[in-house]
Structure formats: structure tokens, C-alpha cells
């Protein structure tokens, strides 16, 4: 239990902050407009959508600068909106909370979002449903902003479901492909499991604390019994696992790569999948009261970071390698979030740098696919560095960032997490270190197979560089991948202090700790192995292997098999059992009573014989009935 937890009560919004809701409203309105406007908007819909996100970004930036100028006590601002509904016991409002944590997310979502919108203008140029695509993207932006700007769990849940919907629509955007439709459905179903956890967590808050407001929950949570607070922490974690593709709810993320690549970059790398980390960090006061749940968070993170890295080593589909890598990196964040106050700031730090370099690499992969006729198999690539120089250069910067090359963004953020993990326990530290090595290996493998080694292009494929509208976002993101770490390293811990409850000591920029040296050594080993194995000829077909580790990796570590055995088959059994129960017992009862009523109906119908005289007689009988009932009533 951490006694130093501080609870910040937000100040009321003044001036510009009263307009914070516009950040959500603009993309939402544009999204609705694009959905209903029909073909008229085909020509300019994508531009309007991009402008909407840029507008949100500008508002966010202005607010951020305003916050920078304030004292720490005033940096959390509650924007009062309206009352959703109230009962005698609870009141639900739709207020927004702009504070140090949410504003960082706003900038990440709208900043990266705007770049990806620009990129999509080029990427989706030939898609006849481009207007709809941009409508969905804007819907996603609005929902994601609702998620991070909410000042209570219920409004957060609105956004949570909104991004789930947008994700579902976008994964299945090419719905004519059966695999895309199935993947969308799978993401939807798996996310329901997580959502159930979220909903139950809210029920617990309401029954135990009588509120779902962040500030009030943080204030009152110390009064809860330890069992309840642990349960609460675990349920929040279930929600986070679903959204952030953490083990055991990870299986949907790899399939989600069926969506258009900008979607993978925006939703399934930079923003939505990190919502789970945001949720855990937001709930840091809960985890401060329950070391057990916090430990489970750290374990889930550690398992996932290895799990994702393993999958990354054995896939040939470039997007799936990146997807495995995303899982793995979110695992790092989750691990950091589970480490307590010391780690939460680092989780957010890594989340932001990851947002830059992973979006960069996904968009780079999209650029490669664009030049390779939408082929995603790396065994059909090779030696693309010359054909696509800009894509290669920007991708390389993302690569350096993710493996943690000294000075790049990933170096700072990941290194902090590994050090914090060693603080927590030797095993956490060692496994995180191992993960870093594996990351270096599979990313080097990806680089070698795609940009170097021998040409394995399929016939008729002529790789070419993508247009500027696609490469400019790549360049911006590449620059951010390099410098974001150094920019924020000394600042973010202090900035987030009140939001995460951690007051950091100075973090030096260039002083490298022994663990830092160790990390660099492990990463170097990974890079060398990756280079050595793929430096010359790479087979253009999948080599047969009997290595069980590789086979397991290629099969997503049997995530689907696990789901089928644990959830699907018992579920099917239950359903067929219920079905036969329904057929025999329930239907029997229903049909039986239907028969009874039918018979009764036919019998009673005879009384309605059409003769006015018998109707009158019925009335007289009715009068007698009234008399009898009144008389009996008197007796009783």
C-alpha cells in the first residue's frame, strides 16, 4: 500500500477549456455528415475529415500550452457538461477532464491521427468507399477522445464501446473478403469479454463507492475492503486485457491486421490498443490499494511481452510481425503500469514513443505493400532499400527506436521500464531484458528480409516509392521516433506526477546505468543474430521445420486452439444442451399450454353465439356475479 497517494481535485473549466468538447464534437459531426451525405461528399469528404482531426489537434495543442503555463495544482480541469441521468443514489454526468495525462493522449491521438488521415488520402485513393472509410476514421477519433477525456468510468465506457465499434467497422472494412469479416467478428466477440469486466468493475464501484467519477473513486477507494479492491483491480484488468490484446485475450489482434493498413497503424498500434494501459494508469489509486492485483497486471504484461515477441519471430506476414511486436510493446507498458507509482509514468512514456515509432513502421509497411501490389509476405520482398529510399529511411528510424538504439525514443522509454522491472524483482527484469533481445532479433529479421538480402519479387511486381502524401507523414513520424524520447525524458515524470502519484527523481539524459549497458549488449546480440541468419539468401517459400518453438510461433502460440478448447467447445456443448432442453422441456410446456389456451379459446368462443338474447343473459349473469362478489366481500 502506498501512502503517498495524492488525490487531485480538478478545478472548474474557464476560458478556452469550456470549449474542450469541440475536440470530440468536430470529428463526430463530420463523421455523421460523411455517413449520410451520399455521393456528393465523395470529392471532398476525405479532406473535410482530415481538417476535422487537425482542428481537434489544434484545440488540444492550445489547451496543452495553457496547461504548461499553469501551476501543478491547477493542471487538472473539469469541463462541466450535462447530467446524463440521476437516481436518488447516483448521478451520472458527461463531464470531461483535461489533465496532464489526458492532454498527452489527446495530442497523440489527434497528432498521429491527423498524419494517418493525410496518409490515407493517398493509400485509399482508389477505393470506391473512401468517404465511408474517412467517416469511420473520424468516428474512431471522436470515440477515442471521449475515452481519454471522460472524467468518469461511465463516459469512458461510452468511448470504450465507440472505439470498439469503429475498430469492428474498420477491420471489416473490406467486408467482401471473408477473412476480414471473420476477423472483425472475432475482435468484436473477444472485446465483449473485456467489456464485461469493465461493466462489472463499474458495478462494484457503484455498490461499494457510490460513484464512477475518477476523482471520487480515487478518494474513496482506500475505504474499501482489501478483497473487494483486489476484485475491482482484476476486473479492470480484464477490461484492459480485452482492449489491449493482452494474454489471454490477445487472439484478435493478429487477425485485426485484415483491416486497411492505416487502420492498423492508428487503431491497432498507436492508440486504441493502448487504451487498456490508459485505464490501468487512470485507476492507479485502485492498484495502489491492492498489491495482488498490481502484481497480476505486471505478470500479464510480462507474459504478453514475451508472447508477442515470440510470435514476431516466426511470422512472414509483415503486418503480423508488427502486430506481434505491438502486443509485445504493450506488454512492456502493462508491466510498467503494474509496477506501481514508479512505473506508471514510464508506461505512458513508452506508450507515446511507441505510438510514434509503431505508427511510423505500420505506415512504412503500408507503403511497401503499396509498391508490392498489396502483397504482405516478406518472403516475396527483398532488396527494397534502393527501390523505396524514403520508406526505407523512415522505417529504419522506427527500427532504431524500437530496438532501443542509444539516443532514439525507444532507448529512453524502454530502458526505464527494464530498470524499474529489475527494481521490482529479478525475474521481471530478466524477462524484460530477454524481450528486448528478442525484439532486436525479429525487427532485424524484418529489416533484412524486406529491405536487404536477395530480390524475391513476384512476376509483374514493380516496386516504386509511394507518393508524397504518404511519405510526408512517414517523415514526420520518423523524426518523432528519433527525438521524442530525448524531448520528454526529463520532463514527463514530473509532468505526470499528480496523475500517476509518482514524484520522480531527476532522470539524466546521457548517464547510462549498468542495466542500461546490459540492455544494449543484449540488444546487440539480437541484432547480430538477426543479421547473420538473414544476411544472404532467404528462401522465398516457407521452409519446413520441425522446431516446435517455430511451429508454435507460426500458429500464434495456439491462441485460437486455446479459445476453441476452453470457450468454444464447452460453449457449444452448453448450447446444444440448452437446445435439447428447450426442445423437450420448454417447448413441451409451451406447446402444452398453447394447447390448453387454444382449447379454452374454442370453448369460450361458443358463448359468443351472435344472439342478442344470450348476450343480455350474460349481462344479467354478470350482474349476479357483481352481487355475489360484493356480498362475499362484505362477509370477508
Amino acid at each position: 500500500m502506498y501512502l503517498l497517494e495524492t488525490v487531485v481535485n480538478p478545478v472548474a473549466a474557464t476560458g478556452l477549456f469550456q470549449w474542450a468538447w469541440l475536440m470530440i464534437a468536430i470529428p463526430l459531426v463530420v463523421s455523421g455528415l460523411l455517413m449520410v451525405s451520399g455521393k456528393i461528399a465523395d470529392a471532398w469528404g476525405h479532406l473535410l475529415a482530415t481538417l476535422a482531426v487537425i482542428a481537434s489537434f489544434v484545440i488540444g495543442l492550445v489547451l496543452f500550452l495553457d496547461l504548461l503555463g499553469r501551476t501543478e495544482a491547477d493542471r487538472a480541469v473539469r469541463v462541466s457538461m450535462w447530467e446524463l441521468f440521476s437516481t436518488p443514489t447516483f448521478t451520472f454526468r458527461t463531464d470531461l477532464l483535461v489533465d496532464q495525462l489526458s492532454i498527452l493522449f489527446v495530442l497523440l491521438i489527434t497528432g498521429v491521427g491527423a498524419l494517418i488521415h493525410v496518409y490515407s488520402i493517398g493509400y485509399m485513393a482508389h477505393d470506391e468507399r473512401r468517404r465511408r472509410f474517412f467517416a469511420y476514421l473520424n468516428l474512431f477519433i471522436a470515440a477515442m477522445l471521449t475515452l481519454v477525456l471522460a472524467d468518469n468510468y461511465l463516459l469512458l465506457f461510452f468511448g470504450w464501446e465507440g472505439v470498439g465499434l469503429a475498430s469492428y467497422l474498420l477491420i471489416g472494412f473490406w467486408q467482401h473478403r471473408k477473412s476480414a469479416a471473420v476477423a472483425a467478428k472475432k475482435a468484436f466477440v473477444v472485446n465483449r469479454v473485456g467489456d464485461m469486466g469493465m461493466a462489472m468493475a463499474m458495478f462494484i464501484m457503484l455498490t461499494q463507492l457510490g460513484t464512477v467519477n475518477f476523482a471520487e473513486v480515487n478518494e474513496r477507494v482506500s475505504g474499501m475492503s482489501s478483497g473487494m479492491v483486489t476484485l475491482l483491480g482484476l476486473l479492470i484488468l480484464v477490461g484492459a486485457c480485452g482492449k489491449s490484446a493482452q494474454v489471454p485475450l490477445q487472439s484478435w489482434l493478429l487477425d485485426a491486421m485484415e483491416g486497411p493498413t492505416p487502420v492498423s497503424a492508428l487503431i491497432h498500434a498507436a492508440t486504441m490498443v493502448t487504451a487498456g494501459v490508459y485505464l490501468v494508469v487512470r485507476s492507479h489509486a485502485v492498484y495502489a490499494q491492492t498489491p495482488t492485483a498490481a502484481l497480476v497486471v505486471a505478470i500479464v504484461g510480462t507474459v504478453t511481452l514475451l508472447f508477442g515477441a515470440w510470435i514476431g519471430t516466426s511470422k512472414d506476414d509483415i503486418k503480423k510481425v508488427l502486430a506481434g511486436s505491438t502486443m509485445s510493446q504493450i506488454g512492456y507498458m502493462m508491466l510498467a503500469a503494474g509496477l506501481g507509482p514508479i512505473g506508471t509514468a514510464f508506461a505512458i512514456f513508452h506508450l507515446i514513443t511507441h505510438g510514434f515509432f509503431k505508427a511510423n513502421m505500420f505506415l512504412g509497411a503500408g507503403s511497401v505493400m503499396h509498391g508490392m501490389d498489396d502483397d504482405v509476405d516478406m518472403r516475396h520482398y527483398g532488396a527494397l532499400a534502393k527501390a523505396m529510399p524514403i520508406t526505407f529511411a523512415t522505417f529504419a528510424m522506427g527500427y532504431l527506436a524500437i530496438i532501443g538504439f542509444p539516443g532514439t525514443a525507444g532507448f529512453f522509454s524502454k530502458d526505464h521500464i527494464i530498470e524499474a522491472a529489475f527494481d521490482k524483482g529479478l525475474w521481471f527484469g530478466l524477462l524484460a531484458l530477454l524481450g528486448a533481445g528478442v525484439t532486436a532479433y525479429y525487427m532485424t529479421r524484418l529489416m533484412m528480409m524486406t529491405f536487404f538480402s536477395n530480390k524475391r519479387w513476384r512476376e509483374g511486381v514493380h516496386p516504386h516509392e509511394s507518393p508524397l502524401v504518404m511519405t510526408i507523414p512517414l517523415m514526420v513520424l520518423a523524426v518523432m521516433s528519433i527525438i521524442a524520447g530525448a524531448l520528454m525524458n526529463n520532463w514527463i515524470g514530473g509532468w505526470l506526477a499528480t496523475s500517476t502519484g509518482f514524484h520522480p527523481h531527476e532522470m539524466s539524459l546521457f548517464k547510462v546505468t549498468p542495466i542500461g549497458w546490459l540492455t544494449m549488449a543484449v540488444v546487440a546480440v539480437g541484432v547480430v543474430i538477426g543479421w547473420w541468419l538473414h544476411k544472404s539468401d532467404v528462401s522465398d517459400t516457407v521452409p519446413a521445420t520441425r522446431n516446435p518453438l517455430v511451429i508454435a510461433g507460426r500458429n500464434d502460440l495456439y491462441g485460437d486452439a486455446f479459445n476453441e478448447a476452453v470457450f468454444m467447445r464447452p460453449g457449444q456443448g452448453l448450447v446444444s444442451g440448452l437446445d435439447s432442453f428447450d426442445r423437450t422441456v420448454v417447448d413441451g410446456a409451451v406447446m402444452g399450454s398453447a394447447g390448453v389456451f387454444g382449447g379454452l379459446s374454442t370453448g369460450l368462443r361458443r358463448l359468443q353465439n351472435g344472439y342478442a338474447r344470450s348476450y343480455a343473459l350474460t349481462m344479467v349473469a354478470g350482474v349476479l356475479l357483481v352481487a355475489v362478489v360484493l356480498y362475499l366481500g362484505r362477509l370477508a
Binding site: 437516481t87 398453447a594 389456451f597 387454444g598 379454452l600 379459446s601 374454442t602 369460450l604 368462443r605 358463448l607 359468443q608 351472435g610 342478442a612 344470450s614 348476450y615 343480455a616 350474460t618 349481462m619 349473469a621 354478470g622 350482474v623 356475479l625 357483481v626 352481487a627 362478489v629 360484493l630 366481500g633 362484505r634
Partner: protein
Amino acid sequence: MLTLLETNLDWGALAPLIVVFVGACLGVVVEGVLRRSIRDEAQLIIAGLTLVLAFGFTVQLWRGREFGVEAGGSVSVDGPALFTWGALIIFTILALLLASERKLNQGQTDFVPMAASVPGSPLEARATALRLEHTEVYPLVLFATFGMMLFAASNDLITMFVALEIFSLPLYLLCGLARRRRLLSQEAALKYFLLGSLSSAFFLYGAALVYGYTGSFELNRVDAMIGSAGASSLLLAAGMGLVGVGLLFKVGVVPFHSWTPDVYMGSPTPITAFMAIATKMAAVAALMRVFYVGFGSMEWDWQPLFAVLAVLTMLVGSVIALTQSDIKRLFAYSAIAHAGFLLVAVAGAVTPTSSSAFGALTGSVGSIQFYLAAYGLATMGAFALVTMVRKAGGESTSLASWSGIGRRHPVFGALMVLFLLSFAGIPLTGGFIGKLLVFLAAWAGGYGWLVLVAVLMSLVAAFFYLRVIVVMFFREPNEHSEGVTVEKPSWMTWTVIVVAAVGTLVLGLWSGPLAELAIRASAFLGS
């Protein structure tokens, strides 16, 4: 001392009544004065203006909260009276729109060209050839509306009896005016008249007995006398029971329901729609007024009676509806079942609690008023749709002929489904909120067992509504449905359908305002 002529009438408070009455009289004058060719338009305009004006006066009275017992203690202008007046006027407007629809029937209304002609006679043929019309329908409906408005607001039993006759006589006539299947229509009119007279006799006898015991017809004096002289007399109980029988007949409660199916089926459909909601509304309002105000202190006597009758009514209505093969007859039994659901709340007899926000209690009167508004909208819509299904010019009301009709006419099918779901009390429709409120009121009144029975009976009732949906969408067209089409009506029927559909949805999704209004307008004067 009886004064035969009350000299100082408060004209303002009685304005809606007077306006409707004068409008009806004007209609009669028009029949005698104007040429036949322009009579129909003139009648429609007069009736429309009359009703709009009356509605305006009603709203004004409500906004000024000008409540009071008027006309020498015989008319009580209070919340329930004004709510019922407003609703009656709206439903009358909708019914008249249906009645003046001509496009569905080759430019003619659903009413007989010459009611006095013997069906099948040369006179009838000539009248048809001359395209004669009974434009008396408009004044008749207005007289009926006037009677119903007076009925719902009567503060003494004699005024109530007079009002009962005022609205019954035009209805007996209107029932017999169907253009097609005239024998059936005339039979219905005659049956309705005979049984109606019988029920009037019961009512009158009951009123006399009550007068005999209490010495007054005025409801609040009756109540005061019962308070001071005690309620144990058998004379009083008999009087109350017989007055109740007269009212329950008009509500259509089992075992006083037998007229309903024959009359609903035989009448011209616009008139069926009018009766289904307007008569029920006025009768339930009068029933509550008599029992809550006049016999309020005898609730131990009448609560169990209403509970027993509610069970019987719900059971008979829902069960017999299961095997009906004609859509109008099915709606008749559905109307009986709905009378039972209403009676559930009447038996509950609770007043609204102070924190009467939504979810809290609306009280019996408020919830019944809401229920009737929702039920009335769905009824209007459903009967409007019934008039559109035609075969060889006439309405095709046998259920078998509706096979697959929803698939061939999806808009028609969807609208019918909406109204049926509202009848069945499925969420997102006004019918659901109405049922919920009514059941809550009975529950709060200590009639939990009755609510349980009512919920079970709603299930049975839902079944026969769903059966119509199944026939419309999942049955293959058969020999009965050959030549059956859904005709395109004029703007009048469309207006009714759109108002009903939008109203049904609005009451289901955003029921707060009307529920609020129904609660505020739920206090009887003198209770």
C-alpha cells in the same frame, strides 16, 4: 330546492363543451341549408374548426388551472376532465380524417349512400348510382364527442346518465352506416342499441338506489352522506353495483362485453376506431370519477370486485382472441383485454406520491390516462391501416387474406408491426410505458397478485399479436389472399398513420412529458 335553469353559468369554464355542441348543431343546419355538392367540404371544415377551437379552449383552461364544479354542481372541470377532453378531441379529429377518406374507395366514403334503403333493394341501387352520401356523419360524431366529454366531467349521476345517452344514440346510428355488408352492420347497430338500453336501465336503477340512500345525485354529497351515514347498507351496495354495471358495459369489461366483437366488426372501420378509443376513454374516466369521488370511502367493497372482473376480462379477452380469424374481431377482443389491464390499475386505486418523477409512482389516474393515450394512438393507427387492405373495392379483414402482405408492402407491414408491438407492450413503444405505469400503480395499491396475473395475461395477449405478424410476414400467399392489395390512401389517412406512428414511438422513447402531464392532471375535484 331544485332550480331547473341555472342562470349564472360560467361560460368560460364550459367553453369546450359548448363549442362542440354548437358545432354539432351547425352541422345539422348545414344539412338543411347547403347544396348536396358542397356539403361534405362544409361539414369537414365546420367539424375541424369546432374541434380545434374546443382544443384551444381546453388547453387554455388547463394552463390557467381554472378548475371548478360548474353548472350548479353538475359538471366538474378538473385535471382528469381536461386531460380526457383534450385526448377525446384529438382522437375525434383523427377519426374524422379516417371517415372522410375517399381515395381508398373509388371516391366514396365507407358510409352507406342511403341508410333508409333496404339492403339489396332498387332504392339502394339508385342511391348508389346517384352517389348520395350521409354527411350527417360529422354532426353525429360531434354529438357523440360532446356526450363523451360531458360524461367524463359529470359530477352528478343524472348528468352522467344524460351524457351517456347523448353519446350512445349517435353511436348506435353510426354503427349501422357501413357501405358494405350492410346486414351485418345493421345487426350490429341493433344489438348495440338493445344491450346499451339494458345497461342504461341498470345504471339508472343504480342511480335511483344511491339517491334513495344518500338523498343526492351529486358525487361529493354522495360521498359525504356515506361518510356520515355509514356504508354498510345493502341498498347502497346494490346501487353502487348497478351503477358500476352500467359504466363497465361501456368500458367493455367481461361479462358485459358481448356487444364488442359484433359491433366492432359490423361498424364502418373509422367508427370502430372512434368507438374503440373514445368510448373507452370517456367510460374509464367516468368510472374512476364515480368510484374515486362518489364511492371513495367504499373501496373495500369495490376494489376486490374490480380485481375479480379485471382477471376475468384479461382472461376472456386474451384467450378468445387467440382463435379469431377476422382482424377487426381480433382487435375487438384485444380491446376487451386492454379494458382488463386498465381495470387492474383502477383496482389499485393509488394517488401519486410526492416524488412523482419517472420511475416513481404516477398513481392510478395518471397511469391510466397515459395508457389510454398510448393505446388510442396505436388503435387509430392500426384501424387506419386496416382500411387500406382492400379486395374488389371492399375492406378485406379476414386474417387469412393478409398472408404475406407485409412482405409485399414492407412499409405497411412495418407500421402494423409497430402498432401491434405497442398493443403487446413491447419496449420502445408507448404501450410498454403504459403497461408499466398501470402495473406499477396496481402494485403500489397492494394488488401484487393481480399484477402477476396481468403480466401472465400480457404474455398470452402478446401471442395473438405476434400471430398477426407471422401471418403478415411468414405465410405464403394463398387462395384467400388473391386480389388483396394495400391501396394508397389520401393525405388524410396518411396523416392519421403518421401521427399515430410518431406518437407511439415518442411515447415509448420520450415518455416523460406526457407522463408528467398525466400525473399533474390526475386529481379529481371533490375527492
